[in-house]
Amino acid sequence: MTRLDPRPGERIDRSRTITFTFDGKPVEAFAGDTIASALYAGGRRIFSRSFKYHRPRGEMDWAGQGASSLVQVDGAPGIRASSEVVRDGMVVEHQNAWPSLDFDVMRMSDIAGGPFTPPGFYYKTFKWPRRAWPLYERALRGVAGLGRLPERQDDREWRTEYRRRHCDVLVIGGGIAGLSAAIAAARQGADVVLADDDVEPGGAQLAEGGHERVRALAEEARAAGVEVLSNAPALGFYDGLVPIWQGDTLHQVRARRHVAATGAIEQPLVFKDNDLPGVMMTGGARRLAALWAVRPGTTAVISTTGDRGLDAALALREAGVEIAAIADLRPDAADRELGAAVQAAGIRLLAGMTVVRALGRNGVAGAVLARVDPTGKATGTLEEIPCDLLAVSGGTAPATSLLLQSGAKARYDAATSRFLAELGDGVVHAAGAVAGHEDADAAAVSGTAAGLDAVVALGLGGATAKRELTNERKRLDVLPPQSPVAAPPAYARDGRRGGKAFVDLDEDISAKDIAYAVAEGYDSIELSKRYTTVTMGPSQGRHSQLASIRVLAAVTGRSLDDVGITTARPPWSTVPMGALAGRPFEPAKRSAVHGRHRELGANVKWAGDWRRAYDYGDPEGEAKAVHDAAGLIDVSTLGKLLVRGPDAGAFLDRLYPNRVSNLKPGRIRYGVLTSETGRITDDGTIARLDDDSFYVTTTSSGAGAVYNWFTWWLADWGMRVHITDVTQASAAMNLAGPRSREILQSLTDADMSADGMTYLDALPAQVAGVSCLVLRIGFTGELGYEIHCPAPHAQDLWDAVMQAGAEHGIRPFGLEPQRILRLQKLHILVGQDTDSESTPFGAAMPWIVKLDKEDDFIGRWALERAVEHPASTALVGFSLPDGDVPAEGAAVLDEGGAPIGQVTSARHSRQVGKVIGMAWVPSAQAEDGAQVTISYDGRTYDATVQTSPFHDPEGTLVRS
């Protein structure tokens, strides 16, 4: 065990033990441990196998930034063991290794490696013979990728909630700078959100000596009213919208001002076998010791380019690690204050040297240190020092990605050998290490200044805030300079053969691979990135971007400034697809009577958003019942609008090509809606309830669009009209058939006699004790009543009608029989029989357009022209001798056999004894008795055109 005695500021609770399994074996951990810290405490050093070469990998940063600790947790792949906190009963498995993590046969690709695995290897090698690709693909799929997706769909989905949060200031990053900024802004009255990706705010200081200070600041921030989000990485900057992923919630935060306090990322060094387990960043080693009280190693060698490594040496020694030596690339390291301090503590300091190779097979056993020339080649004697921990620090790179996404420009800073973000005058401020203020005190001051800057820009805080801002800026100006950091060589090496120097551990890209890409002509940073995939792994270039730029600069002989930086793109932190896709959301609408349809054995299908009864098992029998006795169909899906107000009639006159305002109260008229281009967009009935009120129905699928259409024009015209959408509030059912009058009369005191309630009458009535609006219309072609009622009473009404109709032979009928019935009457279905080119004239409804109307209406001008230039095709009915039913969409051919129209509806009708349908045919043939040729599936049919209904052409039944 390498667990240390209790450490001040540790994150674990030693009084609570958590047990989970790793590859089937139980592992004991303390509450607050991560998977990786618990495994490391138990002696495990290898956490994963690398992407391409299957090399053993340990964890380097202990903050879950890289891909080295990816494991499978409870079936979910790609979880970072070094940041995932342990839970009881968690099932953790390794991924990307077979048969085991400690012995992986695919390591062959590393050992044989070399010539077989350069960049682009797959594309170059597996392209011939082309026929064999499916074979290659299957083999390659087997070895590519990390982890396995759960087999069952249910195990791959979870709920993600979206939360929209608008605030004054969003602070990204909860280190000392971010906390200071949040506190400063909140104290001036701003509504502040702070998002941090660790389990608690505090940032680098949590593990680097300032835990008391930052934890106190976090408390202060909460007390000041800051909403602190932990475990909440910001994913990117999208036009001012910052998505923040926090477990099952995706916060979509929109702030008026942003403070980026994203810190700086400690950089690894590039040298031979720099990926061996046991190589860590100094910050990683310190986190392991400070937060989880785990000793990162027994004997350490430290290789650094600045004070960070010296500082780490003292901290690690204090945690019980013996420091064998420090190589500090700065020649004057020994003369510096910290250099003197480590030497005084008895630590061997090798100034001007750096690590050129890590020794060991499956873990660090030693380090080779040397002086190097500017290209990184070792000069002079090599010094081999045995150790089991090699802590490295290649300086830091400001985490500028979010800033760059927000529009800041990258600028190379020669003095510190790194890229900084140059802010514009936008809504984003930067604070702390990302802005170059790395020391704790400097970060705090710059944070406070940024927070005040943000509130002053928002006009909050008044004169006090302005005065404080001036003071903070003054303090910022007199801060002591940062300690110097040496620029490491692109690629340090000892000149001996063997070993790989990795630039990108996620993607297994070595310095050699980048040189290879340059040799092949991919010599710009953007091209070599795409060719080699460097920086494209889970860490998104956190540890590899600067290193890859250095290698490219070295290989091409250019400066870093000249090579430049690749475009920063979201996501900055990895996020499950599911969190972005949101939860599956396919709303289904069901009528209030739906339960009854199910009980009656309805065949339920989708109809737009609705679940509808297509039939009850016998569509033709159901249609027959309507002809012979009575049928009841649920038509609750119809759109229903109440249009009320003194101008209601005039308003509808402007929307419909026919007249509405002269409709008498209690009467109904059919109406077609046209667009400005005269095309049919919807149809339905309009019932006038009284002088100022109309009850308008629309098609089922058009309900929303018609409501929008009406309200849009109303907003434009500003008439005295109010529109209420009662589609969901009202249910409707159509009682149709010769016996329907008797059935309805038995349920109401209202006069339903042929004279009392004539065709196209609308009458409010109590039916079976329910307040209804009864519309006498005849979509089915038989005597019929459309009964509208409040949805909550619909099922009672349905039951009452069915009960009353039982003795008359009533049957429920579905959508399919209704389609047969309406086809017999040549009643069109908008969208089925018409398309976006259909005018009322083409659709054989010239009578619906009243061009003699005094006033303008929507589509009038286009319809006037349509009269002048008749369309080449027209919608007609057709019949075929009983037999095959041509599919909807079958072509109508002209004499030459070329398609000129199409079949829009076709059904077998038992009532008519034929196959009947509707089709668009040449206008010249749009007359009774004309013959047209229909072609479908290689066969042709000779159809007879009919322009009048097949059933009851005179309409005596509906009027009876």
Partner: protein
């Protein structure tokens, strides 16, 4: 595309709450010529700059309103109901077919 719009009734909301009705253009007053009709029905100015346009609060109160927005930056200068919109009320404007 991501920005905020202020519904005159409900207040500031994400743009995804709204439906877009296109730029405001004027409907011919009298009987238009064929050319005028075609321009009205099919052509839009599509400016790169400040544009007056229709929006509907689809996921909210359902109201249609006007906005003036810079199409280059998505900066919204104002939103208002048609009767409260600055300048002469542009009654009888063009509505693109197919509601949002």
């Amino acid at each position: 595309m991501s920005f905020l719009l202020t519904c005159p009734h409900c207040g500031s909301r994400e743009v995804t709450d709204f439906g877009f009705g296109g730029e405001v253009s004027s409907r011919p007053k009298g009987r238009p010529s064929r050319r005028e009709l075609n321009e009205y029905a099919y052509f839009r100015r599509n400016v790169a700059g400040i544009q007056r346009e229709w929006w509907v609060h689809r996921s909210g109160c359902g109201a249609w309103f006007l906005a003036e927005r810079d199409t280059r930056t998505n900066e919204v200068h104002w939103t208002a109901t048609p009767q409260d919109a600055p300048g002469a009320p542009d009654r009888g404007s063009s509505h693109v077919e197919g509601a949002p």
